[in-house]
């Protein structure tokens, strides 16, 4: 929970017409339903205020004239209106909440879809937690606005209007006398709303401080204990804790004044009815029933007005969230797709880099003037020390990032003129850091692609030798994989990622070999799996295995963003250059352990 966010929210505007307009845009598809819901609201709002009026009829017409039958009938009518109101109310609540949920669903899907189109550059710069918050918590606070806020405000307003209609219909003068407290009520509510708004902000601010203090110190508890600062920290904590308490107590003060004040005003209205209405009754220009009805109306009238101030907080939170959501939606960090992409029909798998320059940040070139060509079916090993630019090389081939200068061709066609998705369909990447999703073994190999039948999945798994451990799992291919594959070993995860690549049967394979050490037995299985992977397709391997390098058709030695040496294993060793040093640093031990 970042204190930042909340503080932004607290300081943000409470209402922004532009944001609201954009938000309301999401209701547009359901316009008809919203309008009919509002109309229904107008009707149902009348049913509550109708009952005191019926009570008036019961008193004046039937009780006063000892009409048992009429009294019974009016009681039935009262009951009828009650049932009807309950029924419509249920329907209406359900219906409007459903609309709210639908709107939220649309918005959530839109944001998620948007994130899927954003370039990796965006993900490099933005903490994952922040993007997650946009599609989850921020959306939820809009939910409150759509599902209860807007609708409840409408129904409250209509109820107040209907009460006024009934009151004025029965007796204009008495209505005016009763409503004479209204200006005071409006003023008190206005005052209260202002106070509550600032105290609500204050409470949220101090809560945010309290939470971020705790968050930070729980994370850094080791430091607190190492420096033996527990006593000082508790003092600091108590200060923040106290401020939060005081903020709450202050906010409570406003509520403890406001609620009784509204009660007092409501009682004053009742007193006015007794005084003025009683006088009118004495003069026989008013009936007792009207007086009783008016007493009931004052009760009804005050609640919606009192509640309006609470709706305000919902609005405030929703505005802040929508601002952040729209900011994400307006982010246009895309890798551009060509307007009229070339067709890539029968891929042979020829790759050519021609004078390629690439930088993540302007002018800090990671790759400098890279040129090489790979013939269809060839395996090329790329070796180099940390920071040589190996990973960048594969990032640009699939257009995760666009290059600044030069060209990259697949089968002689510039990849910038190809559809990104088409391009990536022909190229599979096996990353060093194997990423498994929560799901099953099956869904991880097929990446949830239902076009890949189970026998293809099994075939791929058995080709890379993953079938042996999968068959031993209690649920085999349906075994549950936890988040990040935490229940599987490093070697097993690698084999699954190999199977994944094979299942997609790419024309071009990019393999970033893992450096992490595995036991000898697994190592042998992995080596065999890699051999299988490379057969019959063009392959670029960032190699960490001696066996892979030795079997490669060509080795490209990179150093500080440039290609420094090219050739096969023996030729390069004989050169006694960079490759020779790398060999001693990274690969020689493997030779020794192999010999053992």
């Amino acid at each position: 929970m970042a204190a930042d966010n909340i503080e932004d929210e607290i300081l943000g505007k409470a209402y922004d017409a532009k944001l609201m307009q954009r938000l309301l845009g999401y209701i547009k598809p359901y316009r008809k339903y919203v309008i009919s819901a509002i109309l229904l609201n107008v009707v149902v709002a009348a049913l509550g205020p109708l009952r005191p009026y019926l009570t008036k009829i019961a008193i004046d017409k039937y009780i006063a004239h000892s009409n048992y039958h009429g009294l019974f009938l009016i009681s039935l009518m009262l009951f009828g209106s009650l049932i009807l109101q309950a029924f419509i109310q249920y329907f209406l609540t359900y219906y409007t909440q459903y609309l709210g949920q639908k709107t939220i669903l649309d918005l959530r899907t839109q944001i998620f879809t948007h994130t899927q189109k954003l370039a990796l550059r965006f993900f490099d710069k933005t903490p994952i937690g922040r993007i997650v918050t946009r599609v989850t918590n921020d959306i939820e606070s809009l939910n409150d606005l759509f599902s209860s806020g807007i609708v409840m405000v409408f129904s409250d307003v209509f109820i107040v209007i209907w009460i006024l209609v009934f009151m004025f219909f029965m007796d204009i003068k008495l209505s005016l006398v009763t409503l004479s407290v209204l200006p005071i009520l409006v003023y008190v509510t206005f005052l209260f709303r202002r106070k509550v708004r600032s105290s609500y902000r204050n409470v949220r601010l101090h809560l945010a401080r309290l939470n971020s203090y705790m968050q930070e110190h729980i994370t850094g508890m080791a430091v607190v204990q190492i420096f033996h600062k527990e006593k000082d920290e508790i003092d600091k904590f108590l200060d923040i804790n106290k401020e939060y308490r005081e903020a709450n107590i202050k906010s409570n003060l406003y509520y403890s004044i406001f609620y009784p004040s509204v009660e007092l005003l409501s009682s004053t209205a009742t007193a006015l009815i007794i005084w003025y209405g009683g006088g009118e009754i004495v003069r026989s220009s008013l009936s007792l029933g009207v007086l009783v009805a008016f007493v009931q109306y004052t009760e009804m009238f005050f609640r919606p007005i009192r509640d309006l101030s609470e709706k305000y907080n919902i609005l405030q939170t929703a505005m802040a969230s929508s601002e952040r959501i729209f900011k994400l939606l307006d982010n246009k960090t895309f890798v551009q797709n060509p307007d009229h992409p070339h067709d890539l029909k029968d891929v042979h798998g020829e790759i050519e880099f021609k004078n390629v320059w690439f930088a993540y940040n302007n002018d800090e070139y990671i790759l400098k003037d890279i040129s090489f060509k790979i013939n269809p079916g060839e395996t090329v090993a790329i070796v180099g020390h940390t920071g040589a630019g190996k990973t960048s090389l594969i990032n640009i081939l699939t257009r995760f990032y666009d290059i600044q200068k030069g060209n990259i061709f697949v089968d002689g066609i510039d990849i910038k003129t190809l559809d990104k998705k088409e391009l990536r369909k022909y190229i599979s990447i096996v990353l060093q850091d194997v990423y498994l999703f929560s799901g099953t073994i099956k869904s991880n190999i097929s990446m949830n692609n239902n076009d890949i039948p189970i026998d293809k999945i099994q075939e791929a798994a058995s080709l890379v030798g993953a079938d042996r451990f999968i068959e031993q799992l209690p649920n085999k291919y349906d075994e549950i994989v936890k988040e990040r594959g935490s229940t599987l070993s490093v070697g097993q995860k690698q084999l699954i990622s190999f199977a994944r690549a094979l299942a997609f049967n790419p024309h071009i394979l990019i393999l970033d070999e893992a450096t992490s050490s595995v036991d000898t037995e697994t190592e042998i299985i992995i080596q065999k799996a890699i051999e299988k992977l490379l057969v019959g397709r063009t392959a670029i391997v960032i190699a960490h295995r001696l066996s892979t390098i030795q079997s490669a058709d060509k080795i490209i030695v990179m150093h500080k963003g440039e290609i420094r040496e090219t050739g096969n294993h023996q030729q390069l060793l004989a050169k006694k250059g960079i490759y020779y040093k790398l060999y001693q640093l990274q690969y020689k031990d493997q030779e020794i352990s192999k010999a053992v």
Partner: protein
């Protein structure tokens, strides 16, 4: 309820205010319950004959009664709600001072998010019990008794008939509330599934883009969102019932009063004023009856939360001063010994350290090397008792660390941890974190030794620059040097550097080591590193492998030994050559 009983001590602490609160509840109710009686009298008088003066008298009485009730209602909130905030404060204080004393083991096993959930949600649930739940339940109880008493005095049989539906209300609210709680739990589950999905997607976006699975991910996310919507709708269905049912039941009471009361009026056994009073009383009773159902739910949730909190309160401190603490130890010289030390993080886990025997003379430098996960950090954590060893003993100046007062032990040992953690505070406050009071001279001196001073000069407000989320972001190397300065500032007798230069370039590292040499003259120091350049000048170097000392000696001795150390040395030379190659 048994867990909530542990709140007894807080209640006792504020018993005066709470009892006053209860008294005010009674008084306030007397006032508000009096109002319908005045209305009753007024209307009854109106049906016979009444003077304007009498009407004014009734009106004034209504306003006065409301003032009386309102005044005490204000005081109720000022007592009970304020006390609930005060108890919340006390509870949070107790929670935090307890949490701080828990061993690091606890934080290893419980994620920050988990502990935070207790500190926020659980304390909040208990607070709702303390405030609103206590207030509404006392209010409801008193109000119920008084109102029913008054109603019976007006007309017993009408009271019986009109109140028949109300208990139904409490039961309904309670049942529905429980159901809502269940549905809410289901919604939360889906919500966390949705969050996990988003989290995984964004973390694995490279794989998704590589395999062109974006469309599929979108449809999966959409499906989850739909499931989430459906679960929400399950809840909404119930909530949508709640409101209509509530006013159906209360409305039914009113209709019974109008019908049966009307019949009684026609019979002449009831007055119109009494009937009006009945309607008003039903209005007064409705809300407390509804609240009663909610209150029971609140209590149940608070009970569950308090159970979780009590579980934390029951966590043992493990590492603290006790009977064996030798308070005559006033300072450390710095000789460290490990005697047959073994250590494991958990009973069910294998040993991380196996039978370590090691002596570090006071004032000397020990360097520890080894691959990742071989037990280097575990070893040094035993010295300031961040963990206690499971077998054998760790001695400082001949005394078992378990007998050295914890405060002395920790304030005389400076550790720079592998992952440098700094607080979102000013640079200078971070550096002086371990000092009892601020000392600008120390800030400058330690920053200079740690070669951090030049960096600080480039910051907008120098040492007063705030870092972290709301300030500047330091690079990994800067963070490490700031943490080094923080450890130097406490003037420790024993300085432990746990791979503290990994993000610092080799040249700067060399300079830091040079200036540290002077500082470490009379201090014992332990340096963990992966770099030969860092450790080669140490008085003694040990190489840890699989939790045991695999090689030990000086740089030259280890080179001639031709083992792991020599191999690392050779490789690092090669790396250096490669780096220097253009």
């Amino acid at each position: 309820m048994k867990n909530l009983f542990s709140l007894k001590k807080y209640f006792i602490r504020y018993k005066k205010k709470l009892l006053l609160g209860a008294l005010f509840v009674v008084l306030s109710n007397v006032g508000s319950i009096y109002i319908p009686l005045i209305i009753k009298n007024a209307i009854n008088a109106l049906t016979v004959k009444v003077s304007v003066a009498q009407l004014i008298h009734y009106s004034i009485l209504i306003v006065l009664a409301s003032l009386f009730a309102g005044f005490f209602r204000y005081l109720i909130r000022q007592m009970i709600i304020v006390v609930s905030r005060e108890i919340e404060y006390d509870l949070r204080e107790d929670f935090w001072s307890h949490i701080q004393k828990l061993p690091l083991r606890y934080f290893q096993n419980n994620s920050t998010g988990n502990v935070m959930a207790h500190a926020t949600n659980d304390i909040n649930a208990v607070r709702s019990f303390l405030g609103p739940a206590v207030m509404y339940s006392t209010d409801t109880a008193f109000r119920l008794v008084i109102v029913i008493g008054v109603m019976i005095s007006l007309n017993p049989s009408l009271t019986l008939y009109s109140l028949l539906p109300l208990p139904l209300l409490s039961i309904l609210v309670y049942k529905i509330g429980k159901l809502i709680h269940e549905k809410f739990t289901l919604i939360q589950e889906k919500f966390s599934e949705l969050t996990t999905k988003a989290q995984e997607n964004f973390a694995g976006i490279r794989v998704i883009k590589s395999y062109v699975r974006e469309e599929n991910e979108i449809s999966q996310f959409k499906q989850l969102s739909k499931d989430f919507l459906n679960r929400n709708m399950d809840m909404i269905k119930i909530q949508a019932y709640l409101q209509p049912v509530l006013f159906l039941v209360t409305g039914l009471s009113v209709i019974i009063v109008i019908w049966l009361g009307g019949v009684k009026i026609i019979n002449g056994s009831l007055n119109l004023g009494d009937l009006t009073a009945f309607i008003a009383y039903l209005g007064i009773l409705t809300w407390p009856m509804i609240a009663f159902g909610w209150v029971i739910n609140m209590i149940q949730q608070a009970e569950a939360s308090m159970k979780r909190l009590n579980k934390i309160f029951a966590e043992p401190y493990e590492i603290q001063d006790n009977d064996t603490t030798n308070n005559s130890i006033k300072d450390l010289t710095g000789k460290i010994e490990f005697n047959n030390v073994s250590f494991k993080y958990n009973e069910n886990l294998p040993n991380v350290l196996n039978n370590i025997n090691l002596t570090i003379p006071a004032g000397s430098t020990l360097a520890i090397m080894g691959y990742t996960g071989e037990g280097k950090t575990s070893l040094i954590n035993l010295i300031p008792r961040l963990y206690d060893c499971t077998e054998g003993e760790v001695l400082i100046d001949g005394a078992n660390v378990k007998t050295i007062p914890l405060e002395l032990l920790r304030t005389r040992i400076g550790i720079v941890q592998q992952e440098s953690f700094l607080f979102s505070d000013t640079i200078s406050n971070n550096i002086t974190y371990g000092l009892r009071k601020h000392d600008q001279e120390k800030v400058l001196k330690s920053s200079k030794i740690a070669h951090f001073d030049k960096d600080v000069e480039t910051f907008p407000n120098g040492y007063e620059t705030v870092m972290g989320e709301r300030g500047i972001t330091l690079s990994g190397g800067q963070k490490q040097r700031a943490s080094l300065a923080r450890a130097i500032a406490i003037d420790p007798k024993i300085l432990i550097l746990d791979d503290s230069f990994s993000a610092v370039d080799t040249n700067t590292e060399e300079e830091i080591l040079k200036s540290l040499k002077e500082f470490m003259k009379d201090r014992t120091s332990i340096i963990i590193s992966h770099r030969i350049s860092t450790v080669k000048n140490a008085d003694k170097i040990i190489v840890l492998s699989k939790g045991a000392i695999f090689e030990e000696g000086t740089h030259d001795e280890l080179i001639s030994l031709g083992g792991i150390y020599a191999d690392l040395h050779y490789k690092q030379l090669l790396e250096k050559e490669l780096e220097e190659l253009n």
